[in-house]
Symmetry: C2
Subunit: 354 residues, 2 copies
C-alpha cells in the first residue's frame, strides 16, 4: 500500500494527552484526502519506560523505528523521577543525532485569536521560520571537570562546528528562503564575543550566500537579535541559527506571538535517509499533566508539519487553516489561552473545522 508508516511516541506528561488529538486529525485527513497512515505505537522514550527498564530506550530502538516514514512525538521529561539531562539525552537528543535530523524547523506565526504580549501586532505581520542546526555546535558532549571538589575546580565543554554540519543547515535555510515570497535570510551570530566558532559560522554564511544571489541576507549578534524579535518581529522571514541560538530563538519567537503552547517543531533529515520527528515545542508540562486541559494545537500543528514533509501539502495547509479557524473562536480555546475548553473539545473542534 501507499500508507505512510508513522511511529507514534507519546512520551511523558501531557504528551500522552495531546498525541491522541494529533492522531484524530491524521485519521480525519486520511478520510478526507487521498492518503493513508499506518500507526505503530511505542512506549519507550518515556520516563515510565526508564523506571521499568533503567534506560530510556531499548538497545534495538533504531531497528524498531528506523524504517518508519516519520516519528510523531509528544513530549519527554518527568524531572520528579528522572533528571532532564538523562531523559532528554537518552531519547530526543539521540533521535536528532542518530537519525541525522540536522534541521530543526520551527514556524513563528501570529495566529488570529491568540493574544500577543506585544502591543499592536496583527496576524499576518509576524510570519517566519527559525531554522536551527540540530546535531552539533554548542550541544556537544565533549568536555569534563578537573580538580573536582576543590577551589581549583575547572569545568570545560567544547562547542564543535564542522564544515559539513554548518553548510548543510545553511543550504536548507537558503533553499527555504528561496521558496518564500520575501526571499530574506537572517543569520544569528555572536562573532564579536564568541571569537572562534562564530566567526567561522559567519564565514560559511558568506560563502553560501554567493550561491543564492537573489536572496537578501543579513546577520545580527544574538543579543540584539533577541531585542529585534520583540521590537521588530515583522523584519524576519527565515532565521538560521546554531543549535543553542536556534533553541533560544525558537522559544522567544513563539512567546512573541502569544504562547509557546501552540508552537510545533520538525526535526528533519531532509534527505529522508532516516525518519524525521515532529513534536510540539511545549514539552511534558508536569504542572498540568493528567488534568486534560493541555492545549493540543502544538501537537496538531506538528501533524501539519509532518504532512508537509511527507509530501501531503494540500492536507498540511488544510490542517493549518482549520487551526486558525478554531483559534479565532473563543469557545474552543483552552485555559492557557484564557478559554474553558478542555484538550478533547479543542481537538474535536479542529477535526470538525477540517
Amino acid at each position: 500500500s501507499n500508507a505512510h508508516r508513522i511511529a507514534v511516541i507519546a512520551g511523558d506528561g501531557i504528551g500522552k494527552e495531546v498525541v491522541p488529538e494529533g492522531l484524530r486529525i491524521l485519521e480525519t485527513v486520511a478520510s478526507r484526502f487521498d492518503c493513508a497512515f499506518e500507526f505503530d505505537h511505542f512506549d519507550f522514550a518515556s520516563c515510565d519506560y526508564y523506571q521499568q527498564h533503567g534506560t530510556m530506550m531499548p538497545a534495538d530502538w533504531k531497528a524498531r523505528i528506523g524504517g518508519h516514514d516519520a516519528i510523531f512525538f509528544g513530549a519527554v521529561g518527568w524531572p520528579e523521577t528522572v533528571p532532564d539531562h538523562v531523559s532528554l539525552w537518552g531519547s530526543l537528543i539521540q533521535f536528532r543525532r542518530e537519525f541525522d535530523q540536522y534541521v530543526n524547523l520551527r514556524p513563528v506565526r501570529l495566529m488570529p485569536g491568540v493574544p500577543s504580549p506585544l502591543a499592536n501586532r496583527k496576524p499576518g505581520e509576524i510570519d517566519f521560520y527559525v531554522v536551527r542546526e540540530n546535531t552539533e555546535g554548542e550541544y556537544s558532549s565533549i568536555g569534563g571537570k578537573i580538580f573536582p571538589d576543590t577551589e581549583r575546580e575547572v569545568v570545560m565543554q567544547e562547542t564543535v562546528m564542522t564544515r559539513v554540519g554548518v553548510d548543510r543547515v545553511l543550504r536548507y535555510a537558503f533553499d527555504l528562503a528561496q521558496r518564500r515570497e520575501k526571499k530574506h535570510l537572517t543569520s544569528a551570530t555572536k562573532s564579536n564575543g564568541i571569537s572562534i566558532t562564530m566567526p567561522y559560522w559567519d564565514e560559511r554564511v558568506e560563502a553560501m550566500a554567493k550561491a543564492y544571489p537573489d536572496i537578501r541576507w543579513d546577520k545580527y549578534h544574538i543579543d540584539i537579535l533577541t531585542a529585534h524579535f520583540v521590537q521588530h518581529p515583522d523584519w524576519f522571514d527565515v532565521v538560521v541559527a546554531s543549535n543553542l541560538f536556534g533553541d533560544i530563538l525558537s522559544d522567544l519567537g513563539p512567546a512573541c506571538t502569544g504562547t509557546i503552547g501552540i508552537a510545533p517543531a520538525g526535526n528533519i533529515n531532509p534527505e529522508r535517509r532516516f525518519p524525521s520527528l515532529f513534536e510540539p515545542v511545549h514539552g511534558s508540562a508536569p504542572d498540568i499533566a493528567g488534568q486534560h486541559i493541555a492545549n493540543p494545537v502544538g501537537q496538531i500543528w506538528s501533524a501539519a508539519l509532518m504532512l508537509d514533509h511527507l509530501g501531503e501539502t494540500t492536507a498540511a495547509e488544510a490542517v493549518v487553516r482549520a487551526i486558525e479557524e478554531v483559534l479565532a473562536r473563543p469557545e474552543y480555546r483552552t485555559r492557557d489561552l484564557g478559554g474553558n475548553a478542555n484538550t478533547a473539545q479543542c481537538g474535536k473542534a479542529i477535526v470538525d473545522a477540517l
Copy 2:
C-alpha cells in the same frame, strides 16, 4: 583631595557624542553634592587609535588607567575600518579580564514616558537587575580549527567555568538580592542541553543558595527564560547568568522596557582592586554617528551606576530621578524615542532637572 579620579574614554562613533553629556552631569553633581572628580581623558580603546598605531591600546595601558577609581566609557567599534572582534577583544574585553571586572551589572527598568513594545505594562512593573558573569564561560579564546579549507574542516571552542569564577558572581547576585525588597533570585541555565558546564552552574547555585536561606530562588532554561522576559517581566528581581546568557538577557530585558538606547552597564570589580568600567549598552552606532542625535540617557544612567559604585548613593539616586523626570516630558526625547530633541538638548534637560 577627596576627588574621585575618573579615566574618561569616549571611544568610537556616538561614544564621542554622549560622553560629554555624561561629564556635564557629573560636573553638576560635583557642584550640588559634596563630592569632586578629576577627569583624565584617553584617546586609546578606539578605532581611530588603531588606525594610527596598529593596536587598540598602548602597551602600558594598564599602568595609565589602573590607578583610577573608575573608567567612564562611551563605546567602541567601527567595523568599516576595524573588524569588531579586533576592536572589542583589544579593548573592552581586555578591561573586563585584566581589571577582573567579573560582574556585569545591568538594570532593567520600565521608565515613565518610554513606550514599551509589550502591551499593557506600566512603569514600576518591570524593575530588575541582570547580573552577568563577565570574565570566563563561553567567552574563552581557547580553541581552533583543524583541516582548514577542506570538507573535513572542524572548528572548536571551549567554554570554561571555574569554581572561583562561578561562585564569586553568584555571591554578588545573592548579596544584591538580599539588599532588595523582593529577595528573589533567578538563575539562567541550560543544563538540559549544554550537558557539562551548565549542570555545574546549577550545582554551584544550589550550593550558594544554602548560605542565603532568606532568598527565594528559581532557575529557568535560557530558551524559556527569554520567553518569560516577554510574557512575565514582572516575575524578576535579580537574574544571574553566565557570560553569554547574561549578554543575551541584558539586551532582551532593555528591549522589553522599550529600548536598549538608554540602558547602562557597570563592569564591576567588587573588591575595588582594579577600576570598574561604566558604559551604555548601545555601542558606537555607526549608522547615526556624527549627527548629534544619539540618546545620551544610557551614558548618563551609566554615570549614576558609577556614582553608586563610588559610594555617592544620594547623587546616584538624584541622577536617576532626573532622568525619569525628563523622559516623562515629550519635548526632551531624542529621535529614537519618537522626539525631536538632539543629544545636547536632552542632556541639558537632565542637568536642569538635577
